[in-house]
Symmetry: C2
Subunit: 330 residues, 2 copies
């Protein structure tokens, strides 16, 4: 991370369930952080109020004046227009974030240059600069959870595309005849292999009368089945749980084939809650990739697990703000 | 194109049916060129012999000494390992090009630094520097013909990935339950929407007894049906021809959605013979992209036709060689 010594960066990562605020040094040291619930269902303004409280508390705690901040970086889920600093389309967990000019709102409050980036792109940048991706100039990060997001490092730089909404790996069609996705497209990777896709599949099949030890595992509360319970049932040999995960893994495998054939990356970094299902999902998907992708590219790629955990977003947001502020023409 | 004044670049583009050799100035002016048939079925060595004859004749004709050459750039179809200068896997039209160390072979003969790049990547670089893509820092070129190839400009630079085999846009799975592709993968865009996919579909359906004016159009020689004849029949209202093209267009549309969601490019440049089927294939595919891709990205992209025609490859190969020679660490 380059920048003037002594400059501090405020970094924010707004996810569907939690948001993290942090102060980092220009050298990339995380000095202090705060985590609080997003409570997205209370509405956008309420989330932003809570964000301001978290930031104010954090600056106080670290004895940091706003004047010491060299920039604010915000990572946020959803369809982001980085150039204009707007959350344009909502993500599954921030459902009413339509056209929210988040960078301007934060800039107006603190009077510090503020930059907005998609959370998965931020995580890719964080892992590239400070995590498992150090040295991998061509890297694709895929977050596997409620949604499936992506971040791209190309030729050693974050790739955001024309407006900052690139890397929607979860919204590439992998099955042209597949189900409708919430994004308006058809057969997206996300609607076939995300956490909700997996639980929906299991709950649906149980609803249609298929037997599974899952029912007992959740005490009859079928709607409370999660990817974790499905993982547990699968490890205990439950055929339905195994089948549901095999299906999702095959779509994830197709997704990996596509990423490898399109990007020929040195590294694919997998993050998000579903990484816990490693042997049940990641391993078969990796095997499919090795069998189907172009040999040159399949042999060149390492598929690894993210290293910075839930701090990847704030690390990446900080790097993003620093680089943007340095590169600005003015 | 940057480089020393006076330096000349020899550029080569080896396609399945023709190869082009050209001498360009470091400023990107094409000074002289030669086109000859590839005759790929005579074998790799024979093609390379013919390439040497074409190069020798061209240098002679232009009174160019080998010592005046600042580099040789070769664009070639197939799975290319740019770092090692090897054609690793063959393309449909160069079927026996397995592990051909093409850069070394040419370098050994002329004793000039030689650089190898995939032909579609070269075309993307050519269009970006000298064609329709000037100024579009985030650009994806897609060639639609016997194969479906791709080239990527990311953040204003050619993106080749870890070994130079990135941008295999034609080999992303768009239909996980689709047919096997020659590359070993399943449901690739190429096996569903390339020229051969379209003619195979039409010929197969006629073989199964479906009626079509195509049979008359080719004088009963059903195996001689081409995308051009299918285009003609479709424009005359033939239902089978229209249906076959609609199907291919829907897959191409899915491909465009994926490219737009993954790259958020300013521009998609379409090249290759199938561009002639514009209103029948490109237009419906573009419409599907506009309806299904993320709105931010769909609104940001312009879909245009390549401008440099069959010279895009030599322009791009020349730029590639110049940039490689300038950037080399030694």
């Amino acid at each position: 991370m380059t920048g003037q010594n002594g400059t501090l960066i405020l970094a924010v990562d707004i996810g569907g369930t939690k948001m993290m605020t942090a102060v980092l040094s220009a050298e990339g040291q995380l000095l202090v952080k705060d985590v609080c619930p997003t409570l997205a269902d209370e509405g956008v303004l309420s989330v932003i109020e809570r964000l301001f409280m978290s930031i104010d508390g954090l600056l106080n705690q670290n004895n940091t004046e706003v004047s010491q901040l060299g920039g604010i970086g915000i990572a946020c889920a959803g369809g982001i227009d980085s150039g204009r600093g707007i959350v344009v389309t909502p993500s599954p967990n921030l459902p009413d974030w339509h056209d929210v000019p988040l960078a301007k709102i934060v800039r107006d409050r603190y009077r510090v240059d503020t930059f907005l980036v998609n959370d998965a792109s931020a995580a890719a940048l964080g892992e590239y600069q400070f995590g498992v991706g150090r040295g991998a100039s061509n890297l694709v990060l895929i977050t596997l959870g409620t949604g499936i997001g992506g971040g791209i490092i190309a030729n050693g730089e974050l790739y955001l595309g024309a407006c900052g909404s690139a890397a929607e790996i979860g919204h590439m069609t992998v099955d042209a005849k597949g189900p409708k996705c919430g994004c308006g497209n058809t057969g997206c990777l996300e609607v076939l292999a995300s956490g909700p896709a997996i639980t929906r599949d299991a709950i649906g099949r149980i609803g249609q009368g298929e037997k599974s030890s899952l029912v007992e595992l959740v005490g009859g509360e079928v709607d409370s089945i999660t990817t974790e319970t499905i993982g547990t049932a699968a490890r205990n040999g439950d055929p339905l749980a195994l089948d549901v995960l095999t299906r999702a893994a095959s779509y994830l495998g197709v997704g990996l084939v596509n990423v490898v054939n399109i990007f020929n990356p040195e590294m694919i970094v997998l993050g998000g809650g579903m990484v816990e299902l490693g042997d049940l999902i990641i391993e078969p998907a990796r095997k499919m990739m090795a069998e189907r992708a172009f040999a040159i590219s399949a042999q060149a790629v390492r598929i690894v697990t993210a290293q910075l955990g839930n701090e990847a977003g704030v690390y990446g947001a900080a790097v993003f703000a620093l680089e943007k502020n340095i590169r600005r023409p003015e």
